[in-house]
């Protein structure tokens, strides 16, 4: 009995976290995987964030705007109060510089083209360039 219920719970979880895979290229499915593994716990399955804790990724200027600023957030993390959609956030976000250039490009392309966002993709080349720039500044 318990087993049946736990399988049922598991199945419900899976089915509700599944993303609409409709028009996604293989590249954005790498992005989806990286998102689920490294971002989803805080920014949530729908990208909407957690009230008062973690900002939303839905049509924020950080996500859809300047790519350099966005890549820098992943490479260096973010640890200063920021205002997103009229709400202040304080929790730190650690750097994700341990991800490969491909993974960073894929996850950023994913968030820029999902959750209702319609922005342009980020390439691994752009990530690599910024990584070099940032490390030469140190």
């Amino acid at each position: 009995m318990l087993r049946v219920i736990s399988i049922a719970i598991f199945w419900m979880c899976l089915s509700s976290t599944a993303y609409s895979q409709g028009n996604q290229s293989p590249k954005s499915s790498i992005g989806a995987t990286v998102y689920q593994q490294y971002c989803m716990s805080c920014h949530q399955a729908d990208g909407g964030g957690v009230p008062r804790m973690t900002p939303s990724l839905i049509s924020t200027s950080y996500v859809t705007g300047d790519k350099k600023r966005l890549i820098t957030i992943l490479l260096q993390g973010l640890n200063e109060p920021i205002v997103v959609n009229d709400e202040e956030y304080y929790n730190p976000m650690a750097s994700f510089s341990f991800l490969t250039d491909q993974q960073i490009a894929a996850v950023l392309s994913y968030i820029r083209t999902n959750f209702g966002n319609k922005s342009t993709a980020v390439s691994a080349q752009e990530v690599l360039q910024l990584r070099k720039q940032l490390s030469s500044k140190k």
Binding site: I5, S6, T17, Q44, A45, N91, M93, A94
Partner: protein
């Protein structure tokens, strides 16, 4: 597991209730609920005076103010008369002996109340304490008072688990954790001296990551607290914890605290299945090794990440006898159980006697979210956050999404 089955069943029932009426709560039989105020903003903790005057502490200013005073002058059961004052945000609020106490995220203020429990000078409170750690994370300062002239304040650790780099995978724990000198515990101050800082306070108990619920238990004359446990076990240690373990662990905990005690954060966490203090992986743990041998054990562990935001010992005569001296705990609900559904968002009851649980915890009030399943806390219509016991023995529950307050009663037949 039993609890999860019960939870699913109760969620199922509450779904039908809320489908009929967006406000009705799912309660044990014989209890009723009424919404006594709505749309008051981000209402965190609440306090009620012996004459029924209700005070709400806001986490976001409304028209520049952070405290709401409510009265029911026409005695129709709904609060219609309001006064806004206090130009600071915060969580903690308490009424004791004709004083109102309220906290910002770094200070505690006191307002003298007149014979009708109204603030005599709402624009000029006395500042009891200032300069408490406030780094945004876990900054809310919950307060409660004893019967000997002391006030207790939670100073949450501005950190998940005291890593060298907070919330960064692979960053080791700081040994010893420097945060504990000024946060990660409960501090005791005089409830009447002005302008105290850490130097005048006492670190009453330590090793507490972030207490949000706390109450003085007059039956046994001790402080009791509910703690928000750590995050990111699965995300940072997938080789030790699978997603399911990361959703369930560590327990949210309920402690009775005596002066000088240590509850083990960040070195260990409570595993509610093993009923052991397990060494944190940032400090060399592997999910099995025990840690913090000198730390106290909780009275009870709840499923992980449910966020116990308020604690109240019931001393009223209105509810059936088994509720007397038991604990109500308001769970704010989780954000951190992906890929599982989020859980919590209800008020729990723990039957107790002489300061010890006499049975398992049970869901007392449910249905606040207006949905039967929640993937992300953003979907919740309301989230329980504060508790107060009304003079007639009813229980009040506040919500910090939209600022509703429910009154839960047990009408006599």
């Amino acid at each position: 597991m039993k609890n999860i089955v019960l939870l699913l069943l109760s969620l199922q029932i509450s779904f039908f209730v809320t489908a009929q009426n967006a406000v009705a709560l799912k309660l044990p039989s014989g209890f009723t609920s009424q919404v006594v105020t709505q749309e008051q903003g981000r209402v965190r903790h609440i306090a009620i005076a012996p004459n029924g005057t209700l005070y709400l502490k806001l986490e976001r200013l409304r028209n520049g103010f952070g405290i709401v005073r409510l009265r029911d002058l026409n005695q129709d059961g709904v609060y219609e008369d309001s006064l806004l004052f206090g130009n600071y945000i915060g969580t903690g609020i308490a009424v004791k002996n004709h004083f109102l106490y309220a906290s910002s995220n770094n200070a505690i203020f006191r307002y003298a109340l007149d014979a009708d429990f109204q603030p005599i000078n709402p624009t000029a409170p006395g500042r009891l304490v200032y300069g408490l750690v406030d780094k945004g994370q876990h900054a809310s300062k919950s307060i409660t008072l004893d019967n000997a002239g002391n006030i207790y304040v939670n100073i949450g650790a501005p950190s998940n688990i005291c890593q060298v780099e907070d919330r960064k995978a692979g960053s080791p724990g700081s040994m010893p954790c420097p945060i504990l000198d000024s946060a990660g515990g409960i501090w005791q101050f005089s409830a009447s001296s002005l302008d105290q800082t850490y130097a005048q306070g006492v670190r009453y108990a330590t090793g507490l990551r972030n207490v949000v619920g706390l109450d003085w238990n007059n039956e046994v004359n001790d402080l009791f607290v509910t703690v928000h446990g750590r995050d990111l076990l699965f995300q940072h240690f997938p080789q030790l914890y699978d997603a399911k373990a990361g959703a369930e662990l560590p327990a949210e905990t309920f402690y009775r605290l005596k002066k000088g005690q240590d509850a083990g954060w960040p070195y260990a966490y409570w595993d509610q299945f093993k009923k052991k203090k397990i060494l944190s992986p940032e400090f060399g743990g592997d999910g099995i090794k025990e840690g913090a041998p000198d730390a106290i054990e909780p009275l009870m562990g709840f499923p992980g990440h449910l966020a116990p935001n308020a604690l109240l010992f019931y001393t009223g005569l209105q509810f059936p006898k088994r509720y007397r001296n038991g604990a109500f705990i308001a769970f704010h609900g989780s954000w951190n159980r992906n890929p599982e559904f989020q859980e919590g968002f209800y008020v729990v009851f723990v039957p107790m006697k002489n300061g010890l649980p006499t049975g398992e915890w049970e869901i007392f009030a449910d249905g606040f979210t207006g949905k039967d399943k929640i993937m992300s806390p953003r979907e919740a219509k309301h989230r329980p956050c504060g508790l107060a016991q009304a003079p007639d023995g009813s229980l009040l529950v506040s919500d910090d999404v939209r600022g509703w307050v429910w009154k839960i009663s047990y009408p006599s037949k």
